[in-house]
Symmetry: C2
Subunit: 338 residues, 2 copies
């Protein structure tokens, strides 16, 4: 496996892969001059560093090894990472990416989705965008729960994340510490935003066959009512603590899918809740919620056996079988050239 992107999430994934007997990390790509040439184990802060794996910015050279899988974790934007994904596919590698817009791009980025699907099929490899959200807790888990249901009329999912103990880039991405005015400007130009809710709406609508005509998205700040601090920053009373986002899948003005995400520094009662209205109504609760970074690394690494067995093409997290990659498991499914 090659790790493409060694930011906080990529580092967390690399550390987890290192703990799995069945995975051998054979290379790492990053363009950051502060990391290039250094050992991957050192950069991710591993106790057993060095690993003897230099981080390289020479993508063609690293991919020349034709790794079975590339774990890709560089950006939320599909247009921005398209060339990177195509390079992996053309090297004959399956790809598991944390790019949020790749989770279900068939509706939000149809042209790129089609191109990537065609190239993946041409090279006999499978590609998926996944993570905890999008990719699991606000989409795949809801579709999984629908197995208990005879008829699903509406899906409501609410996720509250305490950003206090999350990585600094995430705290910045949700606007923690900004003034409300700065937040409004940044939200308007798209720099402040958790990416992926419209993709989750589209994914749910597809797999539950809900006739969603339109997907809307709104974002507002969560304002701190008292001074709160994280390991990295302090938010004063009246400043922005994080984001409150709602994405809706609508049909004739009615919500068929309603996703609500609150992610802010100082959230006291984090949780994930899924409610399926229909026959029978069924709901599910994850007390304390799913930890964003740890769970994303888990979902990604646990997808490695599944992506090796998937049909070639652009897949979604819902297409992949469920699975867990035990640390002690010694062999992955055999890589099948098609």
């Amino acid at each position: 496996v090659v790790q493409y992107g060694v930011g906080p999430i990529g580092a967390s994934i690399a550390q987890l892969m290192r703990q799995k007997c069945a995975i051998e990390i054979c290379g790492a790509i990053d363009s950051d001059p502060a990391k290039v040439g250094r050992d991957l184990g050192d950069v991710v802060g591993a106790g057993d560093a060095p690993w003897g794996i230099p981080i390289s910015d020479d993508e063609p050279r690293v991919l020349q090894q034709a790794p079975h899988v590339v774990i890709h974790s560089t950006s939320s934007s599909l247009p921005r990472v398209m060339d990177q994904l195509l390079a992996c596919v053309r090297a004959g590698s399956c790809v598991v990416s944390t790019c949020e817009e790749l989770a279900y791009p068939f509706r939000t980025n149809p042209a790129l989705a089609e191109k990537l699907d065609a190239e993946a099929k041409a090279h006999g490899v499978a590609v998926v965008g996944t993570g905890v959200n999008p990719g699991f807790v606000m989409d795949k888990l809801a579709v999984t729960l629908a197995a208990e249901s005879q008829r699903v009329e509406q899906v409501r999912i609410s996720r509250v994340v305490n950003a206090s103990n999350r990585r600094l880039p995430l705290q910045r991405k949700i606007g923690a510490g900004m003034t409300p005015d700065d937040f409004a400007a940044s939200a308007a130009n798209g720099t402040i935003r958790h990416v992926g809710l419209p993709e989750s709406v589209a994914m749910i609508a597809h797999y539950l066959n809900l006739p969603v005509e339109e997907i809307s998205e709104m974002i507002e700040p969560v304002i701190a009512r008292e001074r709160v601090s994280s390991d990295f920053l302090t938010v004063e009373t009246g400043q922005v603590a994080g984001v409150h986002q709602i994405a809706r899948g609508l049909s004739g003005g009615r919500d068929l899918v309603y996703l609500e995400l609150q992610m802010y520094v100082g959230a006291k009662n984090p949780y994930d809740r899924i409610e399926l209205q229909g026959h029978p109504a069924v709901s599910l609760m994850i007390p304390s919620g799913s930890h964003g970074d740890i769970a994303t690394a888990s979902v990604v690494v646990n997808s490695v056996p599944a992506i090796l067995q998937a049909q070639p093409g652009l897949r979604t997290s819902c297409d992949l079988p469920i699975g867990f990659l035990s640390p002690t498991l010694e062999t992955l499914p055999r890589w099948r050239t098609r």
Copy 2:
């Protein structure tokens, strides 16, 4: 699709299939003389009966149509239904069965599992045993949740079911209304028991790669502390209200998997709870719990598209992709002869 077995669960499945545009019921098998020759729609109490589908006890003749799928729902015992399953497979039909011992028979009935797997492969069809429990809430859902986890050390699942509004055969099967002495005798000879917990333990151990050496099972009565009534019977104070069962997957005397099921008339706070110990610990709660009969019919019918696309052989619910069969979906995946 042919419905094999028209007891309460089979009837509930048939009614649900009737609501799905993509499914055509082309036959029904049952050996009960009170049902043979009657219309399936009439027997299941459908509002739109008759359906023009006579119930037949002539298995070879009904299977001669080579249905794409047989939904099988006659008994919890794999040895008892083995010939029925083989007949379906030899007719070239995929099978989705509610036989609890079929959910994961590789450990509890290895010889029968091997035979069935070989015959299914020889005939290019896939077979699965599923339902809500075993098949979903005490196994597949836990394995699904493990996607969020980096390391799972122990699985604990607790399910409390209120049997008050369940079918009479289930109330009888859990001993409701018996004296404690009669219960002890019936539990000892195996006639009182919810079947499937050891299969769920074995399934979880397999998919999470937990080194379970031994599976133990115990059963005790839940004694009514006050008089409780269901639609079908009354349980006096001091009589048996239902069962309390525990199945454990052990390694060196330590529980790696601990499943606890309480199913009794008058249970006031039903719920399903899954707890994964490990890194990170994660738990999931279904308030009010999954309804046994409705959810079993749902899980079975929602599995129809997946079984048509599954690799030939004996599969498990964890092997099948997640999925939901919308009532309005018009076509199933094309049946692929192998």
